[in-house]
């Protein structure tokens, strides 16, 4: 008997030890539940982080665009009915008005991690008799690479963007049969074209992007697209990717430009991620519920089995509160020990999964991190679950009539 524990702890631990099989069985039950939750949560978090990283590594979180051009019909005089057909105007490649001010303003926002201007528009890439329609994206490398880490995606050459350099996607390079150092003629629809030299070939992770996207220096693009001193969009990286839409709304309201977040432009993908999260929460909830009922069932049985002991303790002067305390402690201890064992089980399962589920190149299929917060949360929640599950049995035990309980 430990000399420092309060009486409730002493009795609870002795009761748990006495009902050995029950205790072991329910601790195993709880630990399997907790293990499943740990495994699922870590895996899903890894999966989603991986998805999002892949989706977002080739695009900005928020893109600022000039407001759409709209046609405004002439106002009619009051009292005159007039049928108007409004034709949608075409959208030219236009510069964002006051883009440097807007960039400064947006860059100062706490939620924004990086800002980069871009001048982008459609051009033709010409080599000999082969022609491809591509998008030329003029960027400021120092800023843009903080949003899309182009140097990491280079498969040949480098991401150097001097005045007559161009970085092209792998598909375009293959289509046109070009490689590093080759010249490529870029012809815009209007105005003079330019002959640029290929400094790097990049793999953006999708065939479409590799066919279509080319990168040049900002000034080069401005000259090609007739946007002297202007930019067609501003790319942003935000600190919390899930808050991108909120940040976009704030910016749109504050500056009057159009702000599209990745959540809006990838609505279906985001909905899938969201549905996955909801499914995970639901599974966690129901596993937690079954753990709670398991603990409650064991404690209800324990109260019945121990009713004589409860009666004796009551006769000795143990208050109802003390009896309640004993069973609440039992519940909490079962929850906590189950969660500790479950955390271990979940970790083993995760490590095993990581060891076996690998990509052909040997990297883990779903990289995940074991966060201490997950284990702490599991321990706290399981303990609280055990405590909550114990309330009804504990009340029942405390309210036993000692006379009936002793008689057995």
């Amino acid at each position: 008997m430990h000399s420092w524990l309060p009486v409730e702890w002493i009795v609870a631990s002795r009761f748990l030890r006495e009902g050995r099989m029950q205790t072991i069985a329910i601790v195993l039950g709880v630990s399997i539940g907790v293990g499943v939750i740990i495994f699922m949560s870590a895996m899903l978090a890894g999966l989603q982080a991986n998805f999002i990283r892949r989706v977002l590594s080739a695009q900005a979180h928020v893109v600022l665009l000039p407001p759409q051009e709209v046609a405004r019909p002439l106002r009619t005089e009051p009292g005159v009915a007039q049928a108007t057909i409004v034709q949608k105007p075409y959208q030219r490649v236009r510069s964002i008005d006051q883009w440097q001010d807007i960039m400064r303003q947006v860059g100062a926002m706490g939620a924004v991690a990086a800002v980069s201007p871009m001048a982008a528009g459609p051009v033709l890439a010409v080599r000999g008799e082969a022609t491809r329609a591509v998008t030329v994206m003029g960027v400021d490398p120092g800023r843009y690479f903080r949003i899309v880490p182009l140097p990491d995606k280079i498969v040949a050459g480098s991401a150097r963007l001097a005045a007559d350099d161009i970085v092209v996607g792998t598909e375009l390079a293959a289509d046109l049969g070009v490689t590093i150092g080759d010249k490529l003629r870029i012809a815009p629809a209007t105005g003079a074209g330019a002959t640029l030299s290929i400094s790097g070939i990049v793999d953006l992770g999708s065939k479409g992007a590799n066919q279509r996207n080319t990168f040049v220096a900002l000034h080069t693009a401005q000259a090609l697209l007739g946007l002297a001193g202007g930019v067609s969009s501003i790319d942003l990286t935000v600190r919390d990717v899930y808050a991108a839409e909120d940040v976009a709304r704030v910016i749109a309201a504050a500056t009057g430009v159009q702000a599209d977040s990745w959540i809006k432009t990838n609505a279906q993908f985001f909905a899938a991620v969201h549905a996955q999260t909801i499914a995970n929460v639901a599974i966690r909830f129901f596993v937690g519920l079954s753990v709670a009922f398991g603990i409650a069932a064991v404690l209800v049985v324990s109260v019945v089995q121990k009713s004589r002991e409860i009666g004796i303790l009551r006769a000795m002067g143990a208050s109802q509160g003390r009896i309640m305390g004993v069973f609440l402690i039992e519940g909490a201890v079962l929850g906590l020990s189950g969660s500790l064992l479950g955390s271990a089980l979940g970790t083993v399962a995760l490590l095993a999964w990581q060891a076996y589920a690998r990509n052909p190149d040997g990297s883990p299929m779903i990289p995940f991190t074991l966060s201490p917060q997950l284990f702490a949360a599991a321990a706290v929640l399981a303990t609280l679950t055990g405590l909550a599950a114990a309330v009804a049995p504990a009340l029942r035990g405390a309210r036993l009539d000692p006379v009936v309980a002793i008689r057995g």
Binding site: M1, S3, W4, L5, P6, V7, I10, R14, F15, R17, E18, R308, E309, I312, L313, R314, A315, M316, G317, A318, S319, Q320, G321, R322, P402, V403, I406
Partner: protein, 237 residues
């Protein structure tokens, strides 16, 4: 004269009170036990002995009448106050010894003090060891209660009843399940406690030879006290 350790005034106990099934098992019982008395409570089965003991032990509430423990009126006390009074003033010895099976002999003796004070301390341990020693059980102190003979268990139960040094010990047929020799030895222990510490003992028994050794015999029939006498043999005390 000092206030009696126990005083019952017109105690009534009915089961299913207020329903058509109402059965009154104790009728207007008046009884007082002075400090240091050693009293046997006798009567045929179903006469209400155990019910009376439960009422006196504050495990059950009377339907009517008033009960005083050490001069303190118990009517109107809430469960918490009753529990505390019970823990500090009354020791129980049950027929089936009722030790806590998951605990050792020493821990069983310890338990009432632990329950009263919340945390163990060295003084409690010393007291428990002394009590076990006085019952001649020192060598069994670390045995689990279930691994002891009936007589040994009942002696542990007596030690446990004395742990809080109560003014009143209630013993419900403590010798009912023991052979004659063990029964006499447990009885002698109670008698010894009564003599040495002046503890008041109320003993329910069917055993006439043991009852004859008590200072006072109260007989209960159909929930009424039918006789209350002090046998001459008890003059030895």
């Amino acid at each position: 004269m000092a206030e009696p350790v126990l005083r019952l005034e017109r105690i009534r106990k009915a089961y299913y009170a207020g329903t058509p099934l109402e059965t009154e098992v104790l009728h207007d019982i008046d009884l007082a036990l002075e400090a240091g008395e050693f009293c046997a409570l006798m009567g045929p089965s179903g006469s209400g002995k155990s019910t009376l003991l439960n009422v006196i032990g504050l495990l059950d509430r009377p339907t009517g009448g008033n009960l005083f423990i050490g001069g303190r009126e118990t009517r109107g006390l809430d469960d918490k106050a009753l529990t505390q009074l019970r823990g500090h003033s009354i020791g129980f010895v049950f027929q089936y010894h009722h030790l806590l099976p998951a605990f050792t002999a020493l821990e069983n003796v310890f338990m009432p003090m632990l329950v009263a004070r919340g945390r163990p301390d060295a003084a409690m341990r010393r007291r428990a060891e002394e009590l076990l020693a006085s019952m001649g059980l020192t060598q069994w102190r670390d045995n689990l209660a279930v691994n002891m003979s009936g007589g040994q268990q009942q002696r542990v139960a007596v030690a446990r009843a004395l742990a809080m040094d109560p003014a009143l010990v209630l013993a419900d047929e403590p010798t009912g399940n023991l052979d004659t020799k063990s029964a006499q030895s447990v009885f002698d222990l109670l008698r010894e406690v009564n003599r040495a510490h002046g503890t008041t003992v109320l003993l329910v028994t069917h055993n006439h030879s043991l009852a004859a050794q008590c200072g006072r015999i109260v007989e209960l029939v159909d929930g009424r006290v039918v006789s209350d006498r002090r046998p001459a043999a008890a003059a030895v005390s």
